[in-house]
């Protein structure tokens, strides 16, 4: 663990929290090792025939389970697959049995019989099924005709009964029927006072993708934010980026909530930028003139990537560009009001990946009005060290920033971990800690400059 151990310990002892770790002193770890050892040693004793015991294939599927059997029985059968293309209007389609006038809804409830045996339906046409009985029959999966509910009043009674039965399947069936047989304004008006049915219809329209009717309904209900979001969702189905951009542009005018609107605007602006950058960079990369693209070929296009990823990309490939270009990091920062912290973090990661240490230095250096320079890191120098270390920065670079970590414990911890001997030694010197300094002597190389430094410090302390 890299965090200051003592610090941590104090925290856990002084606070009421309980850490969830196997403490070193705890014998949990050794216990686990012990049982492991026992298990292993037993392997020698038992000449395992345990294949008899566990009837499982290696993947653990018990032999004879359903998913195992699928693999077994399916075997070589799928070789034909993929060869034939869908044949629209081909003979196989035409050969389907003609379904008499049966496109009426009632057939949907029929499950038990083949269509030709429709005559048995006649029973159901006895006109005296009340809405309630109809719903009950539908719940039991029986065949029912809804066509004979002609008056608005009957239809609404039917709907109310379905809602009272709570069976979403039946509610949806009745709604499909009403949707087909009622004028839109009437349907909407009646649903407005029937919230449960309304929710089911909205869910249904979402499922089936009847976007237009859905939007009309939401507009009628004055649920404008939902209209906006629901419309915005559509962009996910658009593959072509140009079309997507146009679509997002159209979304900006939608009645989003005040908090959301700026994000939608940003989404549009970002995609617009990405399209420009992508076109440019693809060209650059293909031409092979630009060194950075030759040395570090792009792995993927920048289109549709999140903002922070785009910023990283721009810090990687376009770091030195003037603010005027669309692809320059500073331009992105300004346009999207990226906070300093986020910016530094991303730029740092990008430049460190390129091992451009002087850029890292510049990024963290600020000049005051007198012209003095000072190192500053809005993310804290310990994070700087982490990022640099992850990108295999050399010790000389690393220690410069380790030195700047304010918290002494953290600094010592990092310095020790990454072998920044100078920083460790200097820190102990400042702390006037002879004992630690002596202890550290055995961690540095014999006869090295560091050892010498410790020796001279010790003799002067």
């Amino acid at each position: 663990m890299s965090r200051a151990r003592a610090d941590e310990e104090e925290y856990w002892h002084s606070s009421k929290f309980r850490a969830f770790t196997f403490d070193d002193e705890d014998d949990e770890l050794s216990q686990l090792k012990e049982s492991k050892r026992a298990v292993n040693s037993l392997r020698d004793i038992v000449d395992d025939d345990d294949d008899d015991l566990e009837k499982v294939s290696w993947s653990g599927e018990p032999v004879g389970s359903i998913s195992w059997s699928i693999k077994e029985t399916a075997s070589s059968s799928s070789s034909l697959e993929g060869r034939d293309q869908p044949q629209k209007g081909s003979s196989s389609y035409a050969a389907l049995p003609k379904q008499v006038s049966s496109y009426s809804l009632s057939n949907l409830f029929k499950g038990r019989n083949r269509l030709p045996s429709l005559p048995s339906l006649s029973d159901d046409y006895s006109n005296d099924w009340s809405p309630r009985d109809t719903v009950r029959r539908m719940q039991r999966g029986k065949v029912c005709s809804l066509e004979r509910f002609r008056s608005l009043q009957d239809k609404l009674m039917l709907l109310d009964e379905a809602v009272a039965g709570h069976d979403g399947n039946v509610i949806t069936a009745v709604l499909i029927f009403l949707k087909r047989t009622l004028r839109r304004e009437v349907l909407f008006r009646e649903l407005e006072v029937r919230q449960v049915a309304l929710c089911h219809l909205i869910h249904f329209l979402k499922e089936t993708g009847e976007q237009k009717l859905l939007l009309d309904l939401l507009r009628f209900l004055d649920r404008t934010e939902e209209v906006a979001l629901s419309q915005y969702r559509e962009h996910l189905n658009i593959q072509d980026v140009e079309k997507k951009r146009e679509f997002l542009k159209g979304c900006i005018g939608l009645p989003f909530s005040a908090e959301d609107i700026s994000h939608i605007q940003d989404h549009y602006t970002l995609l617009e930028r990405q399209i420009i950058i992508e076109a440019n960079d693809r060209h650059l990369a293909m031409a092979g003139q630009s060194e950075i693209f030759r040395k570090y070929p792009r792995k993927a296009s920048i289109l549709n990537m999140p903002l922070v990823t785009t910023l990283f990309y721009s810090c990687f490939y376009h770091y030195t560009e003037a603010e005027g270009t669309f692809s320059s990091p500073t331009n992105l920062k300004k346009t999207f009001k990226i906070p300093d912290k986020q910016y530094v973090l991303t730029a740092l990661a990008a430049r460190a990946k390129l091992r451009a240490w002087e850029d890292v230095d510049a990024l963290l250096t600020t000049k005051n009005w007198l012209g003095y320079t000072k190192k500053k890191a809005p993310i804290g120098f310990h994070r700087v060290v982490e990022i640099l270390q992850r990108n295999n920065a050399p010790v000389q670079v690393l220690q410069e920033y380790v030195r700047l970590v304010e918290d002494v414990e953290t600094r010592l911890n990092l310095a020790t971990k990454y072998k920044c001997h100078d920083v460790v030694i200097d820190t102990y010197r400042d702390l006037k800690d002879r004992i630690q300094l002596m202890a550290y002597k055995c961690k540095v190389e014999r006869g090295s400059a560091e050892e010498e430094k410790i020796n001279s410090l010790l003799s002067n302390m």
């Binding site: 965090r3 040693s41 015991l53 653990g60 195992w68 034909l80 044949q87 908090e259």
Partner: protein
């Protein structure tokens, strides 16, 4: 095969048997040889009801996975599709059916078995594609409540929470009620129903209505359950967001348990014999079944992970000693006895080996710095510390692009523990998330807000501290090794849902009226009349049996907490657990996320 189902207080084998009977009846309707085309999602749940052998007995000769294209060659009379009622699956079936060679002889008949329910939407869809008429039998197999273990039932309906709380579609509640009716048909009418939450109220209403409408359902079975407790998941949004710290809970958090199976990285389960295949390590994940049929697992599954190591080591000693016995076996009789015990000992050894490996895998994670930091933040939130400002750790995680689900879990946890976030804090998180992970996630954030997981604090009042104190949700003196309170399952946090169950049993909800009012939805009590003669005369000292039904999902840690209560001496109540879906924070949040990938077909 299903011995573990009869180990509990209520014998759930009967429920499984009923499921098998229904399946056999359907298969026999389609006379002749058959092939089943499986919606892959269903093979798991079906595996808990039946094995291939049962299907084979009923002339199922081939089984395939559902996918687009031409159906494989198979000389069978019937092709049966076992599918969930989903439109995208209907498209695949349509494709299969259209490509079937009409000229082939003999012709194959098509059937559909919808699980758990026929859907008009789907049939309408098939009709619009012009293939509905091709199916001879279209039926439903109401796999409402699947027995997972001796005390656990699940509907495995992934989208139940989303449908109930986001779409206000209560179809899954209807199924829950139907499942409960089936249960009552097998185990007797449950005399007392308690509930908390909007959905709980609906389910109770439906049950009462169904009972009234089907007078035949009045049965003469002596009631096994004394009480039914219906709980809405949205009464306790907090618990699933926290990281579970029981053994089983951690396995689920890290590797995901599906239909009692878990897939593990193979490295730690290398082939057993040395010098044989030592070089080529298996690359396929190791799959293990986890249930109470395995003695060792039953013992450790519900323990806090910190208490698992010592049990494993004790077991190791016992087994070692048992194997040592062979040196003392001198006479033929003794040797014979030793040999007769070998199979059992070997099974125990292999079980111990597996769990030692799993524990090692988990320990690698629980001892990692990030796990520790994450847990620290969770515990701070749950105990009410710094919930009203932007959290540094969450910010750091976003900056390092940790998985979005992890971020959402933490932000939602903070929101729930603060009864909503301040505008500034909420806006800050939203902005960071959208900029880092993509603006399209605005849809997901919106869903989370709708479900109440993420919200704006209104009225400036945070009532979580009151709830926490009254229900004693945070316990400082938790004992992980020898627990005396349910809070051990989260190393300090006592799951709110289970606390409600505990308080209902003793001293009763009247003592917490005030807090119940702060939690969403009504609380209620209903009684179902029993015919005279069926009323229970409880023996002195006999425990009551309560069925707790979690509408919208339950976590393994909550199950562990209820099992802990069942086993408490003088607890007085034993619990059986039912749910719409076994969940953890990750699968739960995922179910609420906007599907950003287009459907594969």
């Amino acid at each position: 095969m299903a011995a573990h189902l009869s180990s509990g207080r209520v014998n759930l084998t009967a429920l499984r048997e009923a499921g098998r009977r229904e399946l056999r009846e359907f298969l026999d309707k389609c006379a002749g040889s058959k092939a089943i085309v499986w919606d892959e999602y269903l093979t798991g749940p079906f595996g808990l009801i039946a094995q291939y052998s049962l299907l084979k007995e009923h002339e199922v000769e081939k089984m395939f996975t559902l996918k687009p294209g031409r159906l494989p060659q198979a000389d069978v009379r019937n092709i049966i599709f076992f599918v969930r009622p989903r439109l995208e699956l209907m498209d695949i079936i349509t494709d299969n059916v259209r490509r079937e060679d009409r000229g082939r002889s003999p012709q194959r008949d098509f059937h559909i078995l919808f699980v758990p329910r026929r859907s008009l939407l789907c049939e309408q869809w098939l009709k619009e594609q012009g293939v509905l008429g091709s199916f001879i039998h279209r039926e439903q197999y109401s796999l409402d409540l699947i027995p997972f273990d001796g005390d656990l039932l699940s509907m495995e309906s992934e989208s139940a929470f989303k449908e109930c709380y986001l779409e206000s579609d209560q179809t899954s509640l209807y199924h829950a009620a139907k499942g409960l009716m089936t249960l009552q048909a097998l185990y007797g009418t449950i005399p007392q129903i308690f509930g908390k939450g909007e959905c709980a109220r609906h389910v109770a209403n439906m049950m009462i209505r169904m009972k009234r409408e089907f007078p035949g359902s009045q049965n003469s079975i002596f009631p096994v359950f004394d009480t039914l407790l219906l709980l809405d998941r949205n009464v306790d949004l907090l618990t699933p967001l926290a990281t579970q710290l029981t053994y089983e809970g951690l396995i689920d958090e890290i590797y995901g348990i599906q239909n009692t199976y878990v897939k593990l990285p193979p490295e730690k389960f290398a082939p057993k014999k040395q010098g044989e295949g030592g070089k080529d390590l298996p690359t396929e994940p190791k799959k293990l079944q986890l249930n109470s049929a395995e003695e060792l697992y039953a013992e450790i599954r519900d323990k806090n992970f910190n208490a698992v190591g010592s049990v494993l080591s004790k077991k190791a000693k016992i087994i070692s000693a048992a194997f040592e016995e062979r040196h003392h076996a001198k006479t033929v009789g003794e040797i014979k006895q030793f040999v007769s015990q070998l199979p059992h000992m070997q099974a125990a050894r292999s079980s111990l080996a597996n769990h030692t490996s799993i524990a090692e895998l988990i320990k690698d994670i629980t001892t990692s710095e990030d796990f520790f930091d994450n847990l620290t933040v969770e515990q701070e939130f749950m105990s009410g510390i710094d919930t009203d400002k932007v959290n540094n750790y969450i910010e750091d995680c976003i900056a390092q692009k940790h998985s979005l689900i992890k971020i959402l879990r933490l932000v939602c946890l903070q929101s729930v523990c603060n009864n909503g976030l301040k505008q500034k804090v909420l806006d800050h998180y939203k902005r960071e998330i959208l900029q880092t992970y993509g603006y399209e996630h605005i849809l997901t954030l919106n869903n989370l807000e709708k479900a109440g997981l993420l919200k704006l604090q209104t009225g400036g009042r945070n009532n979580y501290p009151t709830i926490r104190k009254t229900l004693r949700l945070w316990m400082d003196d938790v004992n992980e090794q020898n627990p005396n309170d349910i809070s051990y399952v989260y190393s300090g946090y006592a799951p709110l849902s289970v606390r409600l169950a505990q308080l209902l049993a003793r001293p009763g909800w009247r003592s917490i009226e005030e807090v119940l009012k702060m939690l969403p939805g009504p609380h209620f009590e209903e009684r179902q009349q029993l015919p005279t003669g069926l009323q229970k005369k409880r023996q002195h000292g006999e425990n009551r049996v309560t069925l707790v039904f979690f509408l919208g999902g339950v976590t393994y840690a909550e199950i562990a907490a209820l099992r802990f209560l069942s086993q408490m001496e003088d607890g007085g109540t034993e619990y059986v657990i039912a749910t719409t879906k076994l969940i953890n924070g990750t699968t739960w949040i995922k179910s609420l996320m906007e599907k950003l990938e287009p459907a594969p077909f």
